[in-house]
């Protein structure tokens, strides 16, 4: 297989990977189709989301042009800025829905925690770049600290979903860095022991409630369990072939809450059935596998860890959301990437793919 032939001249000029781009475009196209139906055939919604996707692809294209050395150079500064902004949020941030997440800059409101989703993988790559792998104990501690500081700051806001993403990004980086299996299992055991402490001291009431209703949604069918119950009904009633596009009753008659945002997967499955679901899961697998392959072709430690981590963040979004919507995982407010209506995380994810494209397309210039 000659990598120079992949995608031909245009792709090489644009520094894009054709298979990955096609995968992303197919998922996005399917997402817009579903959104048209789930959003009650509101064309404004579809156009808005289309523009956001366009912006996302533009960011990806832009970042793909930048040589990875710039990312490496900026990594510690981006990370540091992110931490400072998180601290600023704690002091002057806006409170919405009981959580302090937003920083109001007069013109735009944005969530500094969003930066950390990319800043943590970058910082991890930067930190381990020149260190021998698998990491030593002391280096390991450094990596854990890099992850733990933003994790705690975000979890305190509280924003469990983003904290989970940021924490996982660090964990993925550690794993890809070659963290020994013994330590991995030891940490897993430690985490298991920490859950009761986490439950008692860190988690907020509404988060505990979410976990409890996840374990048995029927206990609160009109309150917090309503989302899960209605979502399962939408999915289950779709059957193998689905009710057909624009024919979903749960989504069209408003029984499915958040049907065009966090729970759009259920609206999709109701209309497209198991066949549609299988197709989408396959597409996601293809995108992730292709991205991991690209990461493994990266020339050095920094680019490998960064590329691998952002790919696994994408996986995390896809898995947590589909698992949540189908009742396999607790309700954690993570959108389905490239599907759910809404912009913030979309930009982050496409930026991640931009970095990946850059790393992949610059791989020879770096090594030689």
């Amino acid at each position: 297989m000659n990598p120079n032939n992949e995608g031909g001249l245009l792709m090489r000029l644009l520094r894009l990977d054709l298979p990955l781009l096609l995968g992303l475009l197919m998922v996005s196209g399917l997402g817009l189709t579903v959104l048209y139906s789930a959003g009650q055939q509101n064309m404004d919604l579809v156009i808005g989301q289309g523009m956001r996707l366009g912006l996302g692809f533009a960011i990806m294209l832009t970042l793909a042009q930048l040589p990875p050395r710039y990312f490496r150079l900026w990594s510690p500064w981006i990370y540091l800025a992110g931490i400072l902004l998180l601290l600023a949020v704690m002091v002057v941030g806006d409170i919405s829905k009981g959580a302090q997440r937003w920083l109001d800059l007069g013109v735009v409101r944005f969530q500094p925690s969003e930066i950390m989703k990319l800043a943590v993988p970058m910082m991890m790559g930067w930190f381990f770049a020149e260190k021998p792998l698998p990491p030593r104990w002391l280096h390991l501690l450094g990596g854990v600290l890099i992850t733990a500081i933003p994790f705690i700051l975000i979890a305190e806001q509280p924003d469990l979903g983003t904290a989970l993403v940021v924490g996982s990004a660090g964990a993925f980086a550690l794993f890809l860095a070659g963290l020994s299996w013994m330590i991995l299992f030891g940490l897993t055991a430690l985490l298991g022991a920490a859950i009761p402490l986490f439950w008692t001291f860190i988690m907020h009431d509404y988060q505990r409630q979410r976990v409890l209703t996840f374990l048995d949604p029927e206990t609160d069918p009109l309150g917090t369990g309503y989302h899960i119950i209605q979502s399962k009904i939408a999915i289950g009633s779709g059957g193998i072939y689905g009710k057909g596009w624009l024919n979903g009753t749960q989504s069209h008659l408003d029984f499915l809450p958040e049907g065009s945002t966090d729970f759009i997967f259920a609206a999709f499955l109701e209309e497209f059935g198991l066949i549609g679901g299988g197709l989408l899961l396959t597409l996601y697998f293809f995108v992730i596998a292709r991205a991991l392959y690209m990461a493994s072709r990266a020339p050095d430690t920094y680019t490998r860890l960064l590329a691998g981590s952002v790919t696994l963040i994408f996986f995390l979004y896809a898995f947590v959301n589909t698992g949540m919507v189908s009742g396999l995982l607790p309700v954690v407010g993570l959108p389905l990437p490239l599907f759910s209506y809404g912009g913030t995380s979309l930009v982050t994810i496409m930026a991640g793919f931009g970095i990946l494209m850059s790393i992949y397309s610059h791989r020879r210039t770096l090594t030689r």
């Binding site: 930190f127 792998l133 070659g178 289950g236 697998f285 992730i288 596998a289």
Partner: protein, 638 residues
């Protein structure tokens, strides 16, 4: 912040990019596997939900979106025997408030009050109903909105969530009070009825027959509810109809009453509390069932206000009491023909036996005098004269010879003192006294004096006007007996096919010698022809058999005299009269009771004559104008 310089370690390794690249590749492979397994788990979950549990979730999804709505049937109309409309349904609009959807009820009511007229009675009724209704069910606030009010409300009704204008059918009684005690009325289903009724039959219905024919023929009138499946959204708003089973409308019914005769009966009784019942003896059809005073049933349909109800309910004249069925009166002398028949049947007298009447009767070994209404006495009287002149002494003697239990056994066949089984609700029984009855009711022995009182229809004896009319009808037909009934026919509103109600025969009264009937009928004819009611016989174009009666309201002391002029009206005797006519071909039997009317011959008998004239000679007054429909009135005024 993080030192870039290599950490000082004794066995510091060099970085080996090839080895690290291979390490990364292995780890990436592990992750690909993990990703595969994770997405496979989701896929497996989808199979579990969409294949294995598809049926269950389809049912749940349908349960979410499909609502079954009842379609209440249209209630049948009520007509008199000639097809005059007595009860109908009128399309009307009312304002309904669903409290659960209203944020500030008081403020909403206040704002509505500025747009339409809301009386205190409306609000009082509304608040009363809200206490008994769950918050998610709409409660009517104002009935019979005019077109103008609807227009005024419709402009900004969207500002009041939970407030809706609803179309419905309101029961209306166009003749108002006329015939109310027979027709009755419908009203909103109350809690007690809610427990009693079959909910399936009343799905979507708000009203039920409360009294009168509306209640007794509820099953015919109501019809059967239909259903429709509608698709609703999460807010419960119906979006489209999926399937529909139309309701079966109720039957129209025709009453045996002739409303013209009813009008005559109510008119002649005006000014008295009392009742007039007219039957066709040949089949038991009720031709008129008047009870005075009357009242307008229309306000009851959607809930009468408290003040008006209290006025009706606490009035001394008890307008709500259906005296024809539920008023219990001593039959007085009207019982005498039946007593005479009992005497003949048991052979204790024959029609020639005579009794000397000195104006009073004394039991052997007692000084107590039982008076005759005529202080001077009737002299020597036979059965015929005893009936015609209503001689009390004759019947004291007869009753004593019969004994109370034989009297009871024979008279019981006439449904005197027990329900006739008429198809009207709430019929009272009354009392046909016997030794066993007295022991059961008072735990006392029966005395000879009780027998004497019973012999002239006084004492414990109590009967309803309907029973008196019925027993008179039985005499008219020489023992043939039909259950009194008010249902004449029912009609399918779709096909207009009429089904006539069948006469319901009751066991006939058998006597040893059929000529006994002639004997007492002759006595009753002589009541009119030269007897106590001779004045009503004047100018009659047909022959009448009748019997006057006067029932004591209170017992005079031994030395007191009854002086009508000096007694308060409520202590005056009740005036009674029973009759049938024509004697040879009886077509009507009548019973009249005018409470505190004084004498049966002076007050009650002329009323009966007018009723019989109306029926037999078609002498009717013009009917009252139907009450105009409120909406029609509103249109006319525009």
């Amino acid at each position: 912040m993080f030192a870039k310089s290599p950490v000082a370690e004794p066995l510091a390794r060099e970085k080996d990019n090839t080895a690290e690249s291979e390490l990364f590749f292995r780890r990436a492979l592990v992750m690909v596997l993990l990703v595969f397994l994770a997405l496979l788990a989701v896929g497996g979950r989808l199979v579990y939900l969409q294949v294995l549990n598809h049926e269950r979730f389809t049912t749940l999804a349908d349960g979410n979106r499909i609502r079954v709505q009842p379609l209440p049937p249209t209630r049948g109309f009520i007509f008199d025997r000639n097809g005059v409309l007595l009860a109908e349904n009128l399309a009307s609009y009312h304002l309904e408030v669903t409290r659960e959807q209203v944020q500030d009820l008081d403020a909403t009511l206040e704002e509505l009050r500025q747009r339409i007229e809301l009386t205190d009675a409306d609000l009082e009724r509304f608040h009363k109903m809200t206490r008994r209704t769950p918050g998610y069910i709409g409660v009517p606030l104002r009935f019979r909105l005019t077109d103008e009010e609807i227009a005024r409300l419709a402009i900004d009704l969207h500002r009041f969530p939970g407030v809706e204008i609803k179309a419905d059918l309101t029961r209306r009684y166009p003749l108002g009070p006329l015939g109310v005690h027979a027709i009755g009325y419908v009203g909103r289903i109350d809690e007690g009825e809610m427990r009693r009724i079959d909910p399936g039959q009343y799905s979507g219905s708000t009203h039920i027959g409360k009294v009168g024919v509306e209640r007794s023929h509820e099953d015919l009138l109501r019809g059967r509810p239909g259903w429709q499946q509608v698709e609703t959204n999460a807010e419960g708003r119906p979006l489209r109809v999926l399937s529909r089973t139309p309701p079966t409308p109720g039957q129209h019914i025709y009453l045996s009453i002739d409303i013209r005769l009813q009008a005559v009966a109510e008119k002649v009784l005006e000014g008295y509390n009392g009742a007039i019942v007219a039957l066709d003896p040949r089949n038991g059809e009720i031709l008129a069932l008047a009870s005075q005073p009357t009242y307008d049933p229309n306000p009851f349909v959607n809930g009468i206000d408290f003040a008006s109800y209290r006025t009706l309910n606490t009035s001394k004249d008890k307008p709500l009491l259906n005296r024809a069925l539920r008023g219990m009166y001593p039959p007085g002398s009207t019982i005498k023909p039946l007593m005479a028949l009992t005497g003949l049947e048991y052979g204790v007298v024959n029609r020639h036996s005579g009794v000397a009447c000195p104006g009073f009767y004394r039991l052997p070994g007692s000084s107590h005098r039982f008076r005759d209404w005529k202080r001077s006495g009737h002299g020597s009287v036979s059965m015929d004269r005893a009936i015609a002149q209503s001689c009390d002494v004759y019947f004291y003697d007869l009753a004593l010879r019969l004994g109370i239990d034989r009297t009871y056994q024979f008279l019981d066949q006439f449904h005197i003192g027990r329900p006739t089984g008429v198809d009207l609700p709430g019929e009272k029984g009354g009392v046909l006294p016997s030794q066993a009855w007295k022991r059961k009711s008072y735990n006392q022995n029966w005395f000879a004096g009780d027998t004497l009182s019973a012999g002239i229809g006084q004492g414990y004896f109590l009967a309803t006007p309907l029973q008196l009319a019925h027993s008179t009808a039985v005499i008219a037909l020489r023992g043939l007996q039909f259950q009194p009934r008010i249902l004449y026919a029912s009609e399918d509103p779709g096909t207009r096919v009429k089904t006539l109600a069948e006469p319901q025969p009751l066991p006939s009264v058998q006597v040893r010698d059929p000529r006994f009937w002639e004997t007492i009928t002759a006595g009753m004819v002589h009541v009119i022809e030269g007897g106590t009611a001779h004045r009503i016989g004047i100018g009659a174009k047909y022959r009448i058999a009748g019997k006057t009666g006067t029932a004591q309201v209170f017992t005079l002391g031994q030395s007191q005299r009854y002086d009508a002029k000096r007694l308060a009206k409520h202590l005056l005797d009740h005036a009674l009269f029973v009759a049938f006519a024509p004697v040879d071909d009886p077509r009507i039997a009548v019973a009249v009771i005018a409470e505190n009317g004084g004498g049966g011959s002076s007050t009650a008998a002329p009323m009966a004559r007018k009723v019989m004239d109306a029926w037999l000679l078609s002498k009717y007054d013009a009917l009252p104008e139907p009450i105009p429909a409120p909406d029609a009135a509103a249109h006319e005024s525009e």
